[in-house]
């Protein structure tokens, strides 16, 4: 225990919280390997997973190459899908300690899953939990890609096994604790703490993710048929700007709820 009375036991929490996600991550990685091997080649597919470790960007780039688009367009699609990491990186930064190298390394292991696992509400992040969520996200992703690449001919069409729905289901599983905190006690406790520390009502803190999710889904559905790959994700992320609503008015609304 340190001077402030906090026992640094959060890294096992990050590792433990990431265990249920390891298998779905491996399965999504396998789907990527299956789809990428015939298009990019076996070795480049595995290297891309190991070097980039960004599912949405990899699928976005792959979809462009597979549909006959140029590599520049594929890279742009991949980078566009990754721009969501910019606000995520700025969100976790204030919770970080250490010099630039340590912050760089901690930022480099950021992923969608670790962002959720490390979230403590009220804009605060448990960086230890976030970092320790990394091993069981990164290595299953690569292992899954290798299995997909190697077994591409045996497994065949991923839609035959329902593997194509795994990617959206994986992201939905990350969002569920935000949307239904009543069913996730640990998450509910953190949200209560966040609402108290920010002077906001719990009811409003609970409603806000639902509003953001619905708005983001609506934006994505509208833009998907109209814009290039990656654009809907970035624009839909703007729904999170609802969180900038002044705490003063939010507190009042929360009290009424």
């Amino acid at each position: 225990m340190n001077r402030s009375g906090w026992t640094p036991k959060t890294w096992p929490e990050g590792l433990r919280a990431s265990i249920p996600l390891a298998l779905p991550v491996a399965a999504v990685g396998m789907t990527f390997g299956l789809l990428a091997a015939p298009v990019l080649g076996a070795v480049p597919s595995i290297v891309l997973s190991a070097a980039a470790w960004a599912g949405a960007a990899q699928f976005a780039a792959l979809s462009v190459v597979a549909s006959g688009g140029g590599t520049a367009l594929a890279a742009a699609a991949g980078l566009l899908a990754n721009t969501r990491f910019l606000p995520m990186g700025f969100a976790i930064a204030p919770s970080m300690t250490g010099g630039p190298l340590r912050r760089f390394l901690k930022g480099a292991v950021l992923s969608d899953a670790s962002f959720v696992i490390g979230n403590r509400g009220g804009g605060r992040f448990d960086i230890s939990a976030l970092v320790w969520a990394f091993p069981l996200q990164y290595f299953p992703w690569i292992a899954g890609t290798i299995v997909g690449v190697v077994g591409a001919t045996e497994i065949g069409d991923p839609t035959r096994w329902g593997l194509d729905v795994l990617f959206p289901v994986f992201y939905l599983s990350l969002l569920l604790p935000e949307l239904f905190p009543d069913r996730f006690q640990g998450h509910r406790r953190r949200m209560r703490q966040a609402s108290r520390s920010d002077g906001r009502g719990f009811a409003l803190v609970r409603q806000r993710p639902i509003i953001v999710a619905l708005l983001g889904a609506t934006i994505t559905l509208v833009l998907t048929p109209l814009t290039p790959t990656g654009v809907p994700i970035v624009v839909a992320a703007s729904a999170a700007l609802i969180g900038l609503r002044p705490a003063q008015s939010a507190a009042g609304a929360g009290d009424e709820a």
């Binding site: 402030s4 891309l48 995520m88 912050r103 480099a108």
Partner: protein, 44 residues
């Protein structure tokens, strides 16, 4: 060869987007605030 270029660009872009915030936004402001509120005590 173009595929390898694509891999390099996507990989570098990923690292850049993930680390830009932690590098530019500094660190510790929330930890200090948390220590003051004692709701979530940080490692100091």
């Amino acid at each position: 060869m173009r595929i390898w270029g694509l891999i390099v660009v996507v990989a570098l872009g990923t690292v850049l987007t993930k680390t830009l915030g932690p590098l530019l936004a500094g660190g510790g402001s929330h930890l200090r605030r948390s220590a003051e509120s004692s709701l979530w005590s940080p490692r100091l």
